[in-house]
């Protein structure tokens, strides 16, 4: 094929590439050691061409979309003429294209007939990376030096030979050395699988056809994204927000962005966003850009392949030294706190242009717990546990309950209790919905999801919640969601933990920790909610009859399990007049 568009071949190549990237992910899942990777799927895989451009991605986590693209220029710059078959480069440097230290990227050059034809790459969120705080996501760090081991883009394998000294060096500095060693092996296995898959593809199609197809796929994705942007009315749409606090309990952080749509291109600039802070909530610029891509990918309705063409029409700028473009050596370990807010803000800005696509706020991002039991007999077994609450209500439907954030995960899952209990000295005592939470509205925000652990050994816990001060907002008359809470129970005594984004506390064996995540915001007037839907929620034990009367003005006849129409009319009239008064 020389440039001629062969729709069947394009389709085959697109799916073959995706299948290879997916096969890498399956290899990772099957061979990984940490719970986060093998159960939670907190990793993503990608194929990149010889120029460093993304050609396919085995998507699991939406925000990973930008890491590989961020790290490739560094790899090419440093190793451009020093790449050999069997080499694997490793990096976790947030100022070298990656995101925060626990995210480790492996990149393997692919050679076919002695030519460099591309790269297989994988990023994974590791259990621990050393530093002051277990998990490497502590908030009270000012500089990256406090956050763990920096791996600055070096060779993990040289011509197929593993650099054992490097692995020993990393392992000696982390709290979960076996997890990190095992996962690095798995990541390398995934890269080899990806490289082999691409070589098989080249054996079938040849380099010329391979390159031509990739070029056409890139153009195809770019066309799709341009058409999507063109459908948004031209104009500049700004959004400002005050983020919880500076990470140290001080003032909130000013966030500002403007989305400027001009024809088929868009520019997102963060002018007006506050300066970087002395805590670890700074978001490396590479990740800021990834958040923008993810938001735009979410409004794209076709299933265009995830390649560099998709990002071509999108330009992202942020002033140097601001909280979303921090300068070295600003700490970034807890960037996950602020990262989700960027995505929420882009949606809020776009809402002005395309209002039928805006939703009330969800729980604010992927919440998590890191539990580090005291080391017994040299066998640490940390738990990195990621889970979520639910979606804000939408203009025409309720928020989905107990699911990964809208712009985040597809394959990501909460870790089963049975997996946790098999591997870590901790039990899950409950995981489910809390009735009478979430924001009332014509469409209801998702109920709050709680998670409750019982620790079987003394240790240290870090608990992260993304919306602590700003309860998830309701829209168009829908009420706000419900607030977060965390309680530590020791015997009969229960302690309410402080309202902080990141709680860092010691725990004793036998204590239980309850994390009540925020409930999501509602959409539209609660008194306009279809009484039948209110009844369904009552019968499903998601709201109580008293709550139905109080929030929705809907009375249920308990004996017939039907809506009491007359009392409902009266109740709603009373509630409405109280509102107006």
């Amino acid at each position: 094929m020389t440039g001629a568009f062969d729709p069947i071949l394009i389709e085959v190549m697109k799916n073959e590439l995706t299948a290879v990237a997916e096969e890498m992910g399956i290899t990772m899942k099957r061979t990984a050691r940490s719970l986060g990777a093998k159960e939670g799927s907190d990793f993503s895989t990608a194929l990149v061409d010889a120029q460093g451009r993304l050609i396919a991605q085995g998507l699991t986590i939406g925000v990973h979309l930008g890491y590989i693209m961020g790290v490739m220029p560094w790899v090419l710059k440093k190793f451009g003429d020093d790449l050999h078959p069997g080499d694997v480069i490793v990096s976790n440097d947030p100022y070298g294209g990656v995101s925060h230290f626990p995210d480790i990227v492996l990149v393997m050059p692919i050679f076919w007939q002695e030519q460099l034809v591309g790269f297989a790459a994988i990023v994974e969120h590791h259990t621990d990376i050393g530093g002051r705080f277990p998990g490497g996501m502590g908030i009270a760090c000012a500089e990256v030096y406090e956050e763990g081991v920096c791996i600055p883009g070096v060779k993990l394998f040289s011509k197929g030979e593993l650099n054992h000294d490097l692995v020993d060096m990393i392992a000696a500095n982390v709290r979960a050395p076996e997890d990190v060693r095992g996962d690095l092996d798995a990541q390398a296995a995934a890269c080899r699988r990806g490289a082999q898959g691409v070589r098989d593809l080249l054996d079938r199609h040849g380099l010329e056809q391979f390159a031509a197809c990739n070029e056409q796929l890139r153009q195809y994705s770019e066309r799709a994204m341009r058409a999507c942007i063109a459908a948004i009315p031209d104009g500049s749409y700004a959004c400002t927000d005050l983020f919880e606090d500076d990470g140290l309990g001080g003032e909130g952080v000013n966030l500002r962005l403007a989305v400027t749509v001009a024809g088929e291109s868009v520019r997102v600039d963060f002018d007006g966003t506050g300066p970087q802070v002395r805590s670890a909530i700074n978001v490396p610029f590479n990740l800021t850009r990834a958040c923008v891509y993810v938001a735009f990918r979410s409004i794209l309705e076709t299933d265009a392949p995830a390649n560099s063409g998709l990002m071509a029409p999108i330009q992202v700028t942020a002033p140097e030294g601001c909280v979303v473009n921090p300068q070295f050596p600003g700490a970034v370990g807890a960037r996950g706190m602020l990262m989700w807010r960027i995505i929420d803000m882009i949606f809020a800005a776009l809402a002005q242009a395309i209002p039928d696509k805006v939703y009330a706020a969800g729980e604010g991002g992927a919440n998590l717990l890191v539990y580090t039991p005291q080391v017994e007999a040299g066998v640490p077994s940390m738990l990195l546990d990621i889970y979520t609450s639910g979606w804000g209500a939408r203009p025409d439907s309720d928020g989905v309950e107990g699911v990964t954030p809208m712009a985040a995960g597809g394959a990501m899952r909460s870790i089963p209790a049975e997996m946790i209990e098999r591997e870590c000295p901790v039990m899950l005592d409950g995981f489910g919905f809390l009735p009478d939470t979430g924001g009332p509205g014509q469409y209801r925000g998702a109920l709050s999801v709680y998670r409750k652990w019982r620790f079987l050994g003394d240790g240290r816990v870090m608990l992260r919640t993304c919306r602590v001060k700003s309860v998830p907002y309701g829209l168009a008359g829908g009420k706000d969601g419900t607030p977060f809470a965390a309680r530590l129970r020791s015997g009969e005594a229960e302690t309410q933990l402080p309202s902080e984004m990141l709680i860092d506390t010691e725990v004793q064996s036998g204590e239980t920790l309850l994390h009540i995540q925020p409930g999501a915001g509602g959409y539209g007037d609660p008194l306009a909610r279809d009484p039948q839907l209110v009844l369904d929620d009552v019968l499903d034990e998601k709201i109580s009859p008293a709550y139905a009367e109080r929030e929705y003005g809907v009375a249920i006849d308990q004996s017939t399990e039907q809506v009491d129409r007359n009392r409902t009319t009266q109740l709603r009239a009373t509630l409405r007049s109280e509102l107006e008064a």
Binding site: R33, R192, R193, G409, M427, E541
Partner: protein
Amino acid sequence: MRIGFDIGGTFTDVIVVDDDGRLFTTKVLSLLDQVGEDIVRCVHEVDAQAQVEGFVHGTTIASNAVIEETTARTGLITTQGFRDELEMRGQRRPNIYDADWDRLPPLVPRSLRLEVQERILGNGRIERALNPAQAQAVIDQLLADGVEAVAVCLVNSYLNPTHEQQLGQLIAEVAPDTVVCLSYDIHPEIREYERTSTTVINASLIPVVDRYLNRLEQHLSTYSERVLIMQSNGGIMSAQAARRRPAYMIESGPAAGVLAAARFAQETQQDQVLSFDMGGTTAKACLIENGAPLEKPGGEIGGGATITTRLFGGGGHALRVPSLDIVEVGAGGGSIAWIDDGGALRAGPQSASADPGPACYGRGGTEPTVTDANVVLGYMNPAAIAGATLAIDRQAAWTAIEQKVARPLKVEVLAAAYGITQVANATMMRALRAVSTERGRDPRDFTLIAFGGAGPIHAAALADSLSMTRVQIPLYPGLFSALGLLLADYRHDYIRSVAVTLDQLDPQAVLRHYQELEAQARTELVEEGIAEEQIRFERQVDLKYGYQVAELSLPFPDVSVTDMQDRLAQLFTEAHRQAFGYDRADTIELVSVRLQAVASSGHLRFTELTGAGSENAPAPPTSRTAYFGPQVGECEAAVYQRTALEQVRSGPLIVEEPDTTVVVPPGWTVQYDVSGNLLLQHE
């Protein structure tokens, strides 16, 4: 005499093979109240004195009940704190970016998901004994709420079933007729959501399947007490086993067709084949390489089309039973054509099913279907089909399309009918893509084997759009799935959790596990009427590094007790290196032992089949007008019988058979080969 029948959404296909290998076939409408009687009548017509060895049955009853949410009212008992895991499905969702997505409701509503006080630890030890009084209150509440079935799944019960068994006994004492399914019995593997979901599906299907089989057996007992059911894995099981494990028959009907295609591919020595089965309600595709259909250890049901990336999940209900890897989409002959809010023409997923059926059946249907379009276009006989047993009312089809599609879209009726077939074809293409391009296979290297009542009408057009150049239509294409039923072997899969590291392994115990599973398999298969010497066993062993979650299934080696540990370690290390390119000096765990018990059910071969009446000379060809799209327009297409096509002939032409119609569009040729198949090739 053996009889196979496949109950589809619209038709039930019946195949009778007598003791001389002669084949009698018929189709009856799938009216569940009387299908048993209809089958008995068919047998009676063939030979009233027949000695019937048994009935083999493929059915969509189980999958339809889940999809249409008509499963039995079921309660779920979980460990305290875990009632909502069934609904959250691990918090996954099938799409990464779809903000309009809504979750499929769980099979058990929240109010019927109750919790008991008990706890088993992650090592299988009981931390807190089951509180019997509280458990009794929970059971009483479920019974008061009128549940027909109860699923029980407690945390860590895969290691220790004590509490589940106690709950089972408590229920049996107060409500002996209530169905109880314990997760340990159904799927004793780690991960509470997947185990709960599989248990719930099984429990909620038992009453439905039991009632259905009771009615059926009552009718069939005139000829034989022996009713066998096709399972999702392509093997058959007894009706008694199906009553206990209905979750294993979810893909019953589709599996039979794929199995037939796989046997066909084996016999004709084709190693690259896509099977395409189009019935009244859905179309299904499967990849068959070297005679073996792709299998999967489990999947999801109810999430719509089964196409999704392999790393995602959460669209449907998790179901962990081994099955053939079939992709299904909601387009079939009975799919109703409609205009959506945006003014676009759609086809399916709603189906006119058997009753009232397409408008052209004259049974009161007024909605235009894909079949009506095929009649209007001249592809299907405008007077009668199904061997002249079903009258066709072309005018009714014309009127339905005119009123519901042509007028609203302001187009000619022929153009509207052609549009309906194109829209249906686009949906079916997704299934074929999912099993070829999406698995990294180039469809151009494959032969399409098309069957099902409507498959051969659409096959060439579909092949065209994937640039496939070869299509085969086997003998009895309309009854192919039913035929697959008579080709299937008995197959039961057994698994026993061992979960012990190799250095702790007791080799004698491992051998004992296999011997016990073999004894169990032998008992069950002998009960199903299999001679003991016919049973073949395949031993497999699941091994992994201690920390991994996914194991490698390897054939269990023939070794002495003293060598077992070393040999298993060596086998696993080699296999891991082979699969992933590295090995580690790490603890290896034997996760479980598996046993596959297979017994041949007879030795029917395609090449030995003789159709009743096929020795008659074919009727001379006729012709009728058919429409092949705006570029070709209307033209006169010759209408042949299969056996008249000994020479290569070019389309447009139509082959009429008792059980289906084959459309050979312009640009395609067709020939009848020695083994009775039609080969369509692109010119």
